[in-house]
Symmetry: C2
Subunit: 347 residues, 2 copies
């Protein structure tokens, strides 16, 4: 059996109180001599406090619940890593759960983790627009007032803390750059329209167009699903629309376009400029390296933890919502428009 406080107390001939006091460095007036004795016997018996018992009385577990859609997704795994490591520095451990985008699992993990006494929850909800989902979330929050932080998916609610990236700005940045490179027929391959990030990025795309007085052409917008295949499928359509550039709402779809472009003998960026979104690690190793919109994952992770620690320690003052700015990363997949459409070249 594991050594307990009692064991140490017995072995040193003192009471549990005394032992607990010195082992926890609580303010006390125990003489160095006794103190030494206790520390020594604790070490000799290899005593380590039972965290569960401690939690039982302190009501703190030094544990965080992390709920993510899919930790095998590079974006989330990077985030998870930063978050875990930083919490670890503060002496916290993290539970994690994959929801695969199923809102029911959001709730299930939330409850599971709360049952386990986590001090706080950090999550990227899978629940988007559904009001009912929001209600459930609020209810859970109300029943157990532990801080909940929404990463990447704000709930527009004063109940929760949140960190987000300005998606609209991301869409704007990508499109605006393409325009500045002389493109006029700029295609846009979106993510599922039901996702807020898709509609936000699309708004940015439209804003950039408008700023340049380029009329918005719905025929240049296609709905994808963030998968490689949906990028591959989109290419021929866009070519048919005389697009000279494509803004893909994630890098995976851009990779699909890359692959397909070889079949069509289209050279990126000479015949077609492509810009992605996310900045996944592989981008710089593609041929040509993919220009993209980068989200500051590490900063987000760090902010998340630091903010949460501030809240947990009651020292919090800053606003509950935080917005990070995405950044344009120009690599080799975008070029000046040579004033001829791809179509003509193919002929």
């Amino acid at each position: 059996m594991r050594t307990t406080l009692k064991d140490v107390a017995m072995a040193s001939g003192l009471s549990m109180t005394t032992v607990s006091l010195v082992l926890n460095n609580k303010p006390n007036r125990i003489p160095p001599k006794t103190r030494d004795l206790i520390v020594r016997t604790a070490k000799k018996l290899n005593y380590r406090p039972n965290s569960i018992a401690v939690s039982m009385v302190t009501k703190k577990t030094h544990t965080i619940g992390l709920i993510l859609p899919d930790i095998s997704n590079l974006y989330f795994s990077s985030l998870a890593k930063t978050i875990e490591e930083r919490f670890h520095q503060y002496g916290y451990n993290v539970f994690y759960g994959n929801t695969n985008g199923r809102p029911e699992l959001d709730f299930e993990y939330l409850n599971l983790f709360i049952d386990r006494g986590v001090d706080a929850i950090i999550m990227t909800t899978s629940a988007y627009h559904d009001k009912r989902d929001n209600e459930i979330l609020k209810q859970i929050y109300a029943a157990n007032h532990i801080p909940i932080m929404m990463v990447d998916r704000g709930m527009n609610s004063s109940y929760f803390l949140s960190v987000e990236v300005d998606q609209e700005l991301g869409g704007f940045l990508a499109t605006d750059y393409l325009i500045r490179m002389g493109h006029r027929r700029i295609a846009c391959l979106t993510g599922p329209k039901s996702l807020k990030i898709s509609t936000d990025r699309l708004q940015g795309y439209r804003d950039a167009l408008q700023k340049a007085s380029i009329p918005f052409d719905p025929a240049l917008v296609l709905e994808g699903n963030f998968g490689v295949e949906s990028g591959a499928k989109a290419l021929s359509y866009f070519l048919g629309q005389n697009a000279t550039a494509v803004f893909c709402m994630n890098d995976m779809m851009a990779i699909g376009i890359y692959r397909e472009s070889r079949r069509y003998n289209i050279c990126i960026p000479n015949n077609l400029s492509v810009i992605g979104f996310d900045d996944i690690f592989i981008d710089e190793f593609l041929e040509p390296p993919l220009s993209t919109i980068s989200q500051p994952i590490d900063e987000i992770g760090q902010y998340t933890v630091d903010k949460m620690m501030a809240v947990l320690s009651g020292k919090d003052d800053s606003p509950k919502a935080k917005l990070f700015k995405p950044v344009l990363k120009i690599r080799g997949s975008t070029a000046k428009n040579e004033k001829m459409t791809v179509k003509k070249e193919l002929k």
Copy 2:
């Protein structure tokens, strides 16, 4: 405050025992009527048992500790996902910790998680050949007899459970295939020599050579560090050695070779065959798609969990160590040797 068992007992006018009995579906002869009442009031009060208190008395937490070198690495994040999801099905939650390859952190997390009462630990050690590390590990194990499973890094010790991939076979498979394609000058870009996986794979490489009666040429072996850059750097050296094919011990280094080959105007696979190791998701989207050795991550994850559950429930019978077989995945980066060395073509 959260509803407790006591609250439910009070509200239903019954004792805690009775309530506990029915809420836990323990064998009892409580009439359906009482039972109903209890279930109803529990639901009304939104009662959820406090896992910590339960653990306190049952000595089980239904929690697993997962210790990995780097969860932002695709291989581990996939593994982590499979493991977490499967444990979740069994009603277990998982703590995770990143060690970044630092053995001290292995021990720290091990202790931390054990302090938190995890029922078992699953880890990929960062400690390799050091005997002292092994001792510490055994000591921790001895002090708390909870099952520990080593994934990917066997300890050759009967203390621990283990799952591994036959690395030697992987090296053999890759090399043998290259030989069958007519290659004789096959370069080998290893990982750090201090890692067992590197030396094992190298042994496989040598075995394949020997089987084909091709003399082993040390000049064709170069030590890399699993990073893209080390692949890039290796190329010119290998070309100088008249290699017609390269076996890279991971895909990232193969990607480095891809990148560099463009600078040298070398066409893969016509001028140079390249085979990697790992089978990361990007492989099939490279140009050409990368041939590689694939490790059955999902199977490994599933086995890990199922085996652990068997052990935890005392129903375990099978051996403690398990060896999975890697598989050759042929894509477009390997071709028949055209009987001329790359060097000649370049001239």
